[in-house]
């Protein structure tokens, strides 16, 4: 009887305020989806950090014959003495963990592997086009500036690439995206709170006769307020489900899409998506309940 009564009241309330209910659902859905995307970017950043932190290297490319780099001009390419001296110099640095030499043939093989779908590029590329390089792995990836400074000017070096810098740029982009998503999410959550408050207020006004009589015959506060709170909860839940669908879509098309470029090295797991969805659901429903209660305290004097 009790449940029956409350659900029929809730249904009537939601139907009477259909436009407001839809507005609440849409705002909650988008707000929660953005919050979820922000959280997912967050976990993506940390899995990628974990993956890359042990793998970043400094690539020290060596001069080839006829290289256009100013420091290689006229040298006719690196000679074995320079190469050996360079290797000794790198190995003597305290920050360096290990150093490997990558010859042109190996570089060519790696390149072929990486761009195996690009036939035009592969057809014009020859082994002799590939530069030789030292791959330097640091003990602590953060120590790169000093190492790079001392290697840049060394004779026989054409240029130095620090993967850490590239990664930092990428992470910086992700972090900005995350903050943007979270800021918009917070604004939307605020808007959702106001909208829910307004919906509940309208609903309370529409049903002032019923609630007045309920008060008079001694219905408990819970009994009077529950239908209104349930309205908020149901709107919040529907919004949460829509947000969940949006998050799943963004995982499949956005996050997995980005991973294609990163050779699927650090994918976002479904567990992360599931826990993000449940967290945003809980937050969405909590916001609805709180907004309803606060509004009811003001507009439904008991």
């Amino acid at each position: 009887m009790r449940a029956n009564f409350i659900f029929s009241e809730v249904w009537i309330g939601l139907r009477r305020n259909l436009t407001m209910t839809i507005a609440v659902i849409v705002t909650v859905a988008i707000g929660m989806a953005l919050l979820g995307v922000g959280l997912m970017i967050n976990s993506q950043i940390s899995t990628m950090r974990d993956f890359w932190v042990g793998k970043v290297e400094i690539s020290v490319f060596l001069c080839k014959k006829n290289d256009a780099f100013p420091q290689c001009k006229g040298s006719g390419g690196v000679n074995p003495q320079e190469q050996a001296a360079l290797k000794a110099q790198i190995e003597s640095m305290p920050q360096v963990e290990r150093v490997e030499f990558e010859n042109a043939a190996k570089a060519y093989a790696n390149f072929r592997e990486q761009y195996k779908d690009n036939n035009v590029l592969l057809s014009v590329l020859q082994v002799s086009d590939m530069p030789e390089s030292f791959r330097v792995k640091l003990k602590n990836p953060g120590d790169y500036p000093a190492v790079i400074e001392s290697l840049k000017g060394a004779s026989g070096v054409s240029y130095v690439v620090n993967q850490q810098e590239i990664l930092d740029k990428f992470f910086g982009l992700l972090e900005r995206l995350r903050w943007a998503a979270l800021v918009v999410a917070i604004v939307l959550v605020f808007a959702a709170t106001l909208l829910i408050g307004n919906t509940v207020r309208l609903s309370a006004y529409n049903r002032r006769r019923e609630t007045g009589i309920m008060r008079l015959v001694g219905a408990s506060n819970l009994y009077i307020q529950l239908p209104f709170v349930m309205e908020g909860v149901i709107a919040g839940l529907i919004g949460g489900v829509v947000a969940a669908v949006m998050l799943i879509v963004s995982k499949v098309f956005l996050f997995d899409g980005v991973q294609l470029y990163l050779a699927n090295t650090s994918p976002l797991t479904w567990e992360t998506v599931a826990s993000t969805i449940s967290l945003t659901m809980v937050i969405g429903v909590l916001i609805c309940v709180l907004a309803s209660f606060v509004t009811l305290r003001r507009y439904l004097r008991v």
Binding site: M1, R209, I213, M214, R215, L216, V217, G218, V302
Partner: protein, 229 residues
């Protein structure tokens, strides 16, 4: 049953008190008319009994409970023991007679079986047998007030408060309303009725408490509306 001890109530933004040091006792099973001009404090008296308002000073006991000590949480339980009838009926227009009366029991969580048993009895008591499935707009004013009385009485309250129940009803129909109130009073329910209706007060010959400017100016058993009549 209702005990006011030196009760004063001043509404915010008003200098003159709505009730000014009022002391009155209403015993169990009594029928009391509360008379006096508009603004004399009749409605304030009723609102204080329901704890819809709080007195500024003085003590109120209702059904043996000190209202000052009654927590907000327990107010609904107080109101379950008090039935209320108003001048404007306050029925739900989208529910029929039976549903209007049953609503009062549904919202305090009574089981369906109990409701099915009790509601027809009360509908009959107020003289609406055979009209249980009419909607309020299909009923006359007197019949609508009977529905309101059935709703107020269905939970067998100890006290029935009636705020000008005949205010919107012609004199002939009012007699029927008063008969129902009398019938309810005879079941042992204390009835307090605020009214302007001199003819009714004079014909019933019950206790009369007259208020003027928030003060009790007369308290007479088996009284009439005013000495001038």
């Amino acid at each position: 049953m209702i005990h006011f001890d030196n009760v004063t109530k001043v509404y915010a933004n008003q200098k003159r008190p709505a009730l000014d040091h009022v002391s009155v006792d209403v015993d169990k099973g009594e029928f009391v008319f509360l008379v006096g001009p508009s603004g004399s404090g009749k409605s304030t008296f009723l609102r204080l009994v329901l704890k819809e308002e709080r007195p500024d000073s003085g003590a109120i006991h209702v059904a043996g409970k000190d209202l000052a000590r009654l927590s907000n949480f327990k107010i609904p339980h107080l109101r379950r023991r008090i039935g209320c009838v108003f001048q404007d009926f306050r029925l739900l227009p989208n529910k029929n007679v039976y549903e209007n009366v049953a609503f009062a029991l549904e919202v305090i969580g009574k089981p369906r079986r109990f409701i099915r048993k009790v509601v027809p009895e009360v509908v009959e008591l107020v003289g609406l047998e055979g009209k249980a499935h009419r909607m309020p707009d299909e009923l006359s004013g007197g019949e609508q007030q009977r529905v309101a009385m059935a709703r107020a009485f269905v939970n067998r309250p100890m006290i029935l408060l009636a705020d000008e129940p005949t205010g919107n009803i012609d004199p002939a129909t009012s007699i029927g309303i008063m008969k129902v109130l009398d019938r309810i009073n005879r079941t042992g329910t204390t009835v307090v009725m605020a009214t302007h209706d001199a003819a009714i007060v004079d014909s019933m010959r019950k206790r009369v408490v007259e208020l003027e400017d928030g003060k009790i100016v007369r308290d007479q058993s088996r009284g009439v509306y005013g000495q001038a009549y």
